[in-house]
Symmetry: C2
Subunit: 145 residues, 2 copies
DNA sequence: CGTATGCTGAGAATGGTTCTCGTTTTAGCA
DNA sequence: TGCTAAAACGAGAACCATTCTCAGCATACG
């Protein structure tokens, strides 16, 4: 893992100040943040970033292996630092999503051989259980849209 | 699991003909289908469904525990029958997604206790490894948008 | 029949994300 | 310190899958 080992390795790309700012906000937050939330927090902290820039740099950080991303049922993407290894329980009815303190990779039962990956370079993984939350089980399940 | 055991259990709801048609197309397909693709296939098979109906019934089937759903990086949702337990390798750069023949739940290393679920009723799970596909590792990683 | 209830679908609305493109900043150089 | 090329920026427009609206239609039931 020497610096500049491969010229095409994005993880060697030095970060610009906006990217560092973005990453700092994500690391300071105690939960995943959406692009819009990130934009808002940066505005408040006197670091003005355009929305386009926020999304651009979020993509770069993701490809560089510094940020992870997941899509909520409502279509929003939420971001977190790569080193945070959290997974989720998500309701297919109301869309509510809450942390699930378990990780199928960390618990070691998973053999990710090179054969399976076939040249693919893994950066992070998502594990999510979808189902019905307690309150959606109780309420009329399929009524009134 | 007697019929109508619980009036609030969506899995007891009988399917309408449109929902059965939808499920049949999904089961006949050998891959996940998007709402738009489903709509197109139904049009061709003389089963005309409006787009709104396709999405409505897809939501119902999902809540009933018959259909699973996952979001691609481009924002599309793709659907498959619940009984198909496939997972994926997805590139954070180009968005390409391919099957990953491994399942962290089926391989048994995961203890999903009632304590963890806290009243949540699981229907299905998604497991996805995100990273860089072979061709995105080779190409200029961060250049030209 | 007559009414209540739910399902349907064409088209409009929604909203997060991406694109466009002129402007600003940075980098490289003499 | 000026000058130029390349890269980054951001306001606003565009995109597009999905959801919403609402009038019309089907079904159930007395």
């Amino acid at each position: 893992m020497a610096p500049h080992a491969h010229p095409t390795d994005p993880s060697d790309m030095p970060l610009g100040p906006r990217q560092r700012a973005l990453l700092a906000v994500l690391r300071a937050a105690n939960a995943e943040l959406s692009g819009q939330e990130l934009h808002e927090r940066l505005r408040q902290s006197s670091q003005r970033h355009g929305l386009a820039t926020v999304y651009r740099n979020l993509r770069l950080l993701q490809r560089s292996g510094l940020v992870r991303c997941r899509k909520l049922p409502n279509g929003e993407s939420v971001y977190a630092p790569l080193e945070r290894d959290d997974h989720h329980l998500t309701c297919v009815s109301c869309g509510h999503s809450e942390p699930l303190p378990i990780c199928p990779v960390a618990s070691g039962g998973l053999a990710l051989t090179k054969v399976l990956l076939q040249g693919f370079k893994p950066l992070f993984h998502t594990f999510e259980i979808h189902g019905l939350c307690r309150s959606c089980q109780q309420s009329e399940p399929l009524a009134h849209g």
